[in-house]
Symmetry: C2
DNA sequence: TCAAACTTTCAAAATATACTGAAAGTTTAA
DNA sequence: TTAAACTTTCAGTATATTTTGAAAGTTTGA
């Protein structure tokens, strides 16, 4: 397989996985493109490589910066902005975990906490089932939350070392 | 807060979380509705509770059964089918992990394996960056894969016990 | 065998999401 | 201060996803 073809496949696969997990396909593709680029790229280059419009490229890059996955680079004597992706897989994973926890998991945990406190007739099966499901899911969500928090604060070596040993 | 209102909030929250993570909102809502129902429900009851069409209810229930989260119940002397959700949070988490691994993660790992083997000029920075990113992500994906596999095979007590102790 | 009771299918419609491109905005250097 | 070089915005458009609902299919009991 040619390198160019392989890059294309990588970009497609990453875009597909992203979209299946609720991340905009184009955003995942731009990220993939930057991941396989040794040099920082300009908006123009990204537009060309992925056949997307200037507006789309601009918004997507802004989002990626917001996720902490990409950064702008300025070069002396140049007006253009260059974009560069952090290539460290562990940083990427941590960053994604951190953002999704904050944006999506934490708000739900907040609601589940409220709903866990709803009082009702302890003889009413409707209430009992509601209460049990909500508190059980709350416990699970809090566990996931705590796990992600630990992961975010952890050192890379911890992940590649101890978790692998543990899970077997 | 009234029980009815609380149920509604739970259904909404679960639907929102689902859609943010690439799961059809209606599917997550039907699941939530069944989770808080002590008794199995008919298609009609689900249609009414969530204001969805018969077709949608039917397809969504079929999907939920496909995910292993819901099962059909038949009652003696009745033509109607009843639907019931497994209420065990641990089973739900395992089931979702299992399906998403199979449907979405494994296919990507397969592609990454192929791309890891693409050969190129070891002096070409384009190749080197591509190769490093792909192999690094492949390692991470395999780790996640292995972790999920262990989780799927693990006992509930293991999860609630040792993982909680570990992450702190 | 019939028809009532129920389930499934899927083309068309509705809705939600993503993208475009041109205009407006900003920065820089002469 | 001007204008070229570049970035940002967002209303309108396009695309993708989800939902509807009526027709077709199936099952059951008389």
């Amino acid at each position: 397989m040619e390198l160019a073809e392989a890059k294309q496949k990588f970009i497609e696969a990453w875009g597909k996985l992203g979209s299946e997990w609720g991340i905009n396909r184009t955003m995942a593709q731009v990220h993939a493109l930057l991941l396989v680029s040794p040099e920082a790229l300009t908006t123009e280059q990204i537009m060309d490589a992925l056949s997307i419009s200037r507006g789309n490229a601009n918004m997507t890059l802004r989002d990626l910066i917001g996720w902490g996955l990409v950064e702008k680079q300025h070069r002396a004597g140049e007006r253009k902005e260059y974009f560069f992706a952090d290539k460290d897989t562990w940083n990427i994973a941590k960053q994604v975990a951190k953002e999704r926890r904050k944006r999506e998991l934490d708000p739900v945990v907040k609601i589940l906490d409220e709903l866990s406190n709803v009082k009702g007739d302890p003889k009413d099966p409707e209430y009992l089932t509601f209460h049990k499901s909500v508190t059980d899911i709350n416990k699970l969500a809090k566990n996931v939350d705590k796990t992600l928090d630990t992961m975010i604060k952890a050192e890379e070596s911890w992940f590649w070392g101890s978790i692998v040993k543990m899970f077997r």
